[in-house]
Subunit: 422 residues, 2 copies
């Protein structure tokens, strides 16, 4: 079975120069947080009292949160939200209190959509929808909107999420798994030219990044049927790097990894695919309803959309997704290097060319030490490092908002831990 791509399709290998610190773009690493976390070393003679410079309580208290989602958000975004929570920009109310049809909230959702279009260079051929229910709701929406009950569709299953998407689709059409990574414990991605696609399939579905297994598509397959479309669940690598949206019929993503709090699902859909929902489709799962109403058919998750908008602004201010990807590659690189250079003390099971920039699963050779690893790391303010219950071990999720300092601290901890227990 082919478990690796035949072409060097990984950015981790393709462009080593971008591992160097970037000299362009705006960097908003929370320096105060990183330094606050380190012990202050001050040499003093005699018994003079030395007072450490004051650090804001918030910076001292903040943890490095490696959760897989909901996940860490940019500090400056949180500070902005904090400052606007009670009274948004002089409106006399919180965003949480605004009518979704009032001019204030309309300006928020329109700006969020416009900024997302800039970030991903989304053309007018695509609708951008802000929905609810997570990717799991989209597992049903996709076949309900794109297929008739007898239509065949193809799924590439590279992890638990792709598998869930496939199983849900079986309620509404005739899905077929054309490749599964399960026999290899979801550690690879197939070579695209070896895929046995159904020429009549209405779509080809992938999960662009498997959050649990840490497997990420670095390039994308093309549906064999020229009338079919590629559909991707991008929940856990959405807006982590540039993506050529025109290759896809639908991209969908829960916001709670890279772009906001939970409760918002973003759908980017080519407009000609809208309007063919099966008769049994709940009105809230019909893309046409939401597209015709600019995501305001009923009350949307307004505050979550506002938060996504703040994150989009922040990503643009960083220089857009090209710059964001550089940072993500650098963070992932130092973590994977630490694992690979540990002489087997740490192990990442994922095939190197398709390792995720977002979710880094790893195990300890001495698995009996894993609980201690997680516990000791938490004591040092690095939390949520336990692997998903279905795979065990550890997992460090290092989304856009995880600062380099967080990954550096984790790597330093890993080396210390190995020195103690190696």
């Amino acid at each position: 079975m082919a478990t690796s791509a035949t072409t060097p399709n990984t950015l981790l290998l393709k462009n080593p120069s971008i591992f160097k610190p970037s000299t362009s773009g705006i960097h908003i690493f929370p320096i105060t947080r990183a330094t606050a976390a380190k012990p202050i070393s001050i040499k003093c003679s005699h018994s003079a009292t030395v007072v450490a410079p004051p650090t804001p309580a918030s910076a001292q208290d903040r943890v490095f949160n490696f959760a897989a989602g909901p996940a860490t958000l940019p500090e400056n975004v949180l500070r902005k939200a904090e400052s606007e929570l009670y009274n948004w920009r002089g409106a006399g109310m919180s965003v949480m209190e605004m009518s979704h049809r009032g001019k204030e909230f309309l300006s928020i959702i329109q700006k969020a959509e416009s900024d997302l279009r800039k970030l991903l260079d989304i053309s007018d051929d695509y609708a951008v929808l802000f929905l609810q229910g997570g990717a799991t709701t989209q597992f049903a929406c996709v076949p309900l909107n794109i297929c008739k009950p007898e239509d065949p569709v193809d799924y590439i299953v590279t992890g638990s999420w792709g598998d869930k998407a496939f199983k849900e689709a079986a309620k509404y059409c005739k899905p077929n798994v054309i490749w599964s990574g399960k026999p290899e414990k979801y550690t690879g991605i197939p070579a695209f030219d070896e895929l046995d696609q159904n020429p009549d399939a209405r779509y080809l579905h992938i999960c662009a990044n498997e959050t649990i297994h840490g497997v990420e598509f670095k390039d994308y397959p093309t549906p064999k049927n020229k009338d079919a479309v590629l559909i991707a669940d991008m929940s856990s690598n959405f807006c982590s790097k540039p993506v050529d949206v025109s290759k896809f019929g639908i991209i969908y993503a829960g916001a709670q990894k890279n772009v906001g709090p939970s409760g918002v699902t973003i759908v980017i859909i080519r407009k000609d695919l809208i309007g063919n929902a099966q008769g049994i489709t709940p009105v809230m799962l019909d893309y046409k309803i939401h597209a015709d109403n600019n995501s305001l058919y009923n009350t949307p998750p307004c505050y979550g959309i506002y938060m996504c908008g703040l994150v989009f602004e922040d990503l643009l201010a960083q220089g857009g997704l090209v710059e964001v990807e550089k940072k993500n590659i650098k963070k992932a690189q130092i973590l994977y290097d630490a694992i690979d250079e540990s002489k087997g003390f740490y192990r990442c099971p994922v095939e190197k060319s398709v390792r995720s920039l977002m979710n880094v699963p790893f195990t300890l050779e001495k698995s009996e030490l894993e609980a201690e690893f997680v516990k000791e790391a938490a004591k040092e303010g690095m939390i949520q490092l336990k692997g998903h219950r279905s795979v065990g071990g550890m997992r460090a999720s290092i989304y856009n908002a995880m600062p380099l300092a967080g990954v550096e601290k984790l790597v330093a901890f890993m080396k210390d831990f190995q020195a103690k227990h190696g």
Copy 2:
């Protein structure tokens, strides 16, 4: 056609004593806001400079928001959320960043459920679910979970929302409208003993309070079929008064009127009704999935649930729903009185015994003045008074969190406006 109940089933009429200011219970009226809104009248001789006492900027800036939802939230809840946004109770992160499976968020959702159970005295025979998608998603969930495709069910339609619920159900079972208020422009509620219920109906559905039309059930009908259940959309009067949950099979409500921001839907369902979803039910619309996983099957709308929890705490601190209802009755009473005593200058079309305590629609005899009314009110910091586009006129939504001072200010404005234009 019967448009009014035959029994005096309205609390507006039943207990006049509760219109008096309560001397018990905890009252958290934001006095500073009310006083700040009034012009300060100071007599001074000669030319001495008189400086008004300083008012907190927030109190000065805050509007009275009469939106139908999302709607005004309690000021103390917003202040609490503001203070905890960046770092929740020393956890080192925002609630928006917390893993939904971490101990911090589990404590939040468990407390929210426990407090809601206290507020509504919900027995262990019922599950409490925190879902997504609004009441509109429940319009499909209810028949998908409770019926087979051939099952007849009954709908009482007292406004636009009940009508939408009925139409969605037609996709999944055989619904029948056994009473509609449409011929009377949704201004009444039927006498229950005149209802022509289908003895085989699996359930009887009502919308307990019609947000657009301002019609509210003051008592509840009983299904004729003893194996059937009563199901209520309580989105716009949820937690505004005590409710005997044991009369219902399912109560559902979008949070964004009385108990939180948009993006959270609360479902209270009798446990024996769970587990019979039709095969075509999307996994996210299956109550059993959510009940078996304590609302954590996938990532829930964590921040919204946190906000609901803060509101529940606040409602309990006010003395629970008995006290909350007293305040709501008082607010509604002074507003309806102002309308009814205007000698026809203002008119509320709703039959008196079923007028909503939450949503007060009214029109001007001189309809050409309505735009000016809305505009002038906004100038005085009272916003979102325009009626729903489907009915016109004005609507004042006066949910739990609308302070008495807001209604008093509106009533004063109405009298001034009438004096000018009457």
